[in-house]
Point group: C2
Chain length 414, copies 2
């Protein structure tokens, strides 16, 4: 890294019409690479501006996903709002949207916009994409988890299908969408042309089922869909979460050498050569026996001792940490993945970016913009309007600043 290197996406302007996670996360990744991201919000603000269920403040998610972006509040349902947006998009490189199916197209004539700005990349995130029988169906993280096999493969064989706690579908969608946008930027460098790109949540999560699909096909569907904390194909053992004296620990043996070392650590060296357990094939054939041996040991020791011993031996393992422990983790802090900031008025939390480029240090995360904080500035600079013209746009209810933006609505989605 040299001090004079511009960040990877310096000079790229992104108009983000993002809701909740998929669109805002894609834009966040671009912002942390140096793009200028303008968050385009309705006069009522984005979902996570709304007061939370309990503290009735702006949701923590808002600053996590949006600190570092500028805020333009505009009413796209007015003709004048549509015209202003069109003019801004003519000067932008990327538009990101993840509205419900059809909603963006009702607000913006995309084809006309791309004719007016042939270099524009229009990136759409949706549940199912623009093709296929499910296209047009509204989707959320929960419903995609249901319909794409995440729920039926999560949980125990004898219990209900289980939702994954984190919104992995939305964030798989967002990370893929940022990749699609950068691919289009590379292609534009060669062709001079922008294009439409899309990522469907459904498509983005399907590849993660590779082990489940592989195990299912290899066993002709004879293994259970849900294998609890065991390996999805039931073909590696031990591979499980085990109760300890004070919590839970995840342990797996990738091969027989790991098993041999583990047998030494747990004080049962004879099991490394016992034909009933010495090979992965034998262990996978009697997982209850295998797991029983490991659990008899883990139950007697605190998690930290087990983790220290297995890390020393390079056997893959980790403690099952609580959410508070993850927030407080020295790894989370030192990687800057979740950082608390404050000024005289408020506290806020921001996410770090998983994309680490030696030539592009992460930018400072400023305080999250207030709704419409940069409306006048953005429209004035990009469209060359004077103060009188900006006053007229504010007075006509086209763009909104901090004093005119409508108060956020009661909580909808926490």
């Amino acid at each position: 890294m040299t001090a004079t290197t511009p960040p990877a996406l310096e000079g790229i302007t992104v108009l983000e019409l993002g809701q909740a996670y998929m669109g805002p996360y894609a834009a966040l990744l671009l912002q942390r690479l140096g793009a200028t991201v303008i968050k385009v919000e309705a006069p009522t603000g984005e979902t996570y501006r709304r007061p939370t269920a309990r503290k009735a403040t702006e949701a923590m998610q808002f600053s996590m996903l949006n600190a570092g972006k500028r805020s333009l509040s505009i009413d796209l349902k007015t003709d004048e709002g549509k015209r202003v947006f069109h003019d801004l998009a003519c000067q932008a490189d990327v538009v990101i949207q993840n509205f419900a199916p059809g909603a963006f197209e009702r607000l913006v004539d995309v084809d006309e916009l791309m004719r007016a700005n042939p270099r524009l990349i229009v990136a759409s995130g949706s549940g199912y994409g623009s093709t296929g029988p499910y296209s047009g169906i509204r989707a959320m993280d929960l419903t995609i988890q249901a319909i794409a096999g995440v729920m039926s493969t999560t949980g125990f064989e004898d219990t209900a299908p289980v939702r994954t706690g984190p919104a992995v579908v939305d964030f798989l969608g967002g990370s893929h969408l940022s990749a699609a946008i950068m691919a289009a930027l590379i292609q534009r460098g060669r062709t001079g042309r922008g294009q439409k790109v899309e990522v469907a949540l459904y498509d983005a999560v399907l590849p993660s089922l590779a082990s489940n699909i592989g195990g299912w096909m290899d066993s002709d569907g004879t293994i259970p869909e849900r294998t609890g904390n065991r390996h999805g194909g039931l073909s590696v053992a031990p591979y499980n979460a085990f109760p300890t004296a004070d919590g839970w620990v995840a342990v797996l043996c990738l091969h027989d050498r790991h098993w041999g070392i583990l047998c030494d650590i747990i004080g049962r060296p004879e099991l490394a050569v016992d034909p009933a357990l010495s090979t992965n094939a034998a262990r996978a054939a009697d997982i209850d026996l295998t797991d029983g041996v490991v659990e008899a040991w883990t139950r007697q020791h605190p998690t930290a001792e087990i983790v220290a011993a297995l890390n020393d031996a390079a056997i893959p393992c980790a403690p099952v940490l609580s959410l508070q422990e993850v927030i407080d983790s020295p790894q989370t802090r030192e990687r800057g993945m979740l950082v608390q900031h404050s000024d005289a008025e408020r506290d806020w939390w921001v996410l770090g970016s998983p994309l680490r480029l030696t030539d592009t240090p992460a930018p400072e995360a400023p305080r999250p913009a207030r709704l419409g904080q940069h409306s006048r500035e953005i429209v004035g600079e990009m469209l060359g309007l004077d103060e009188d013209a900006l006053d007229a746009l504010v007075d006509d209810g086209v763009i909104f600043d901090e004093t005119t933006a409508r108060p956020p609505q009661p909580v909808r989605l926490g």
Copy 2:
């Protein structure tokens, strides 16, 4: 799209030293964008070349993740193998690796390589990245799920923490890694220089906890970490998976308008105005009551009827599909996300790419390469070696072709 547009990454050469999912998936995404991906494999082949637990064939995962890549089998533990790899990397644009911590650096002198090829992008995937207290600890999807809060937030309040069935951590890692690589390609277009980029699985999954972290902080840690199939912040209701007459259905109401429509559909219009249930705040305050109303209705109807009725009303919902139903789904097929191919000798399955660019149609997915299938071709073309020189490399055990590659080892990771 015009017929003459080259794909986004045409002309980009990637050397992929990938294992299992994270590295191979990042490379797959680049391959589907037009990059030439050379999979660099040890003489024993990559993990998923190994015979599966039951059918003892190459795992389905291998073709899913690797069809379309060329195979170079080389022994990087020999001095001559290191030299050949170095010379190939001097002609490549990107090297991708996700070995265990330190293993790549033992095989390759990265700094020396980057001095020899200043345009090279060296992309590393790992569990925890190159900094922070956990750096250097070996990690797998399961252990990151444990230590990053995925398990503690998945499952029901009164049961054990649960692993997410799909390998969401590995694939979040892979999608982010592809994005980091493309950012570095964009930056190289300006600076002329390559760089090191990295993505840690730990970092890649943390953002997906946004709802959990937000709800946890908003409630000062008073809500349970695990909320089963209910909303992670327990602040939206209904939001759950409900048993039906023949399966399960996921349903959520984003706002009171959805609830009003739902009340009509279930034949309980009076509940739309009942103060105990009319607002989301009221419903979230008594989720058992809310869910009981919905479940009393869902239990009486088959899943398909419920889904049809709620889709018509634009209320977010989806059936909980089984793995086989997902594989067979018309959406999966029409999007080309999981496609079966065959020739005279064998069948194979390939993944589609979630990255859809109108200017870059997805390439055909050829039969997955046999181990070392292109070793001679690649080394011959890229290093300009004649047949005698290639024979010597094969004879000396430096590179391997189909006849000399060592037989795959017994199953390790299924």
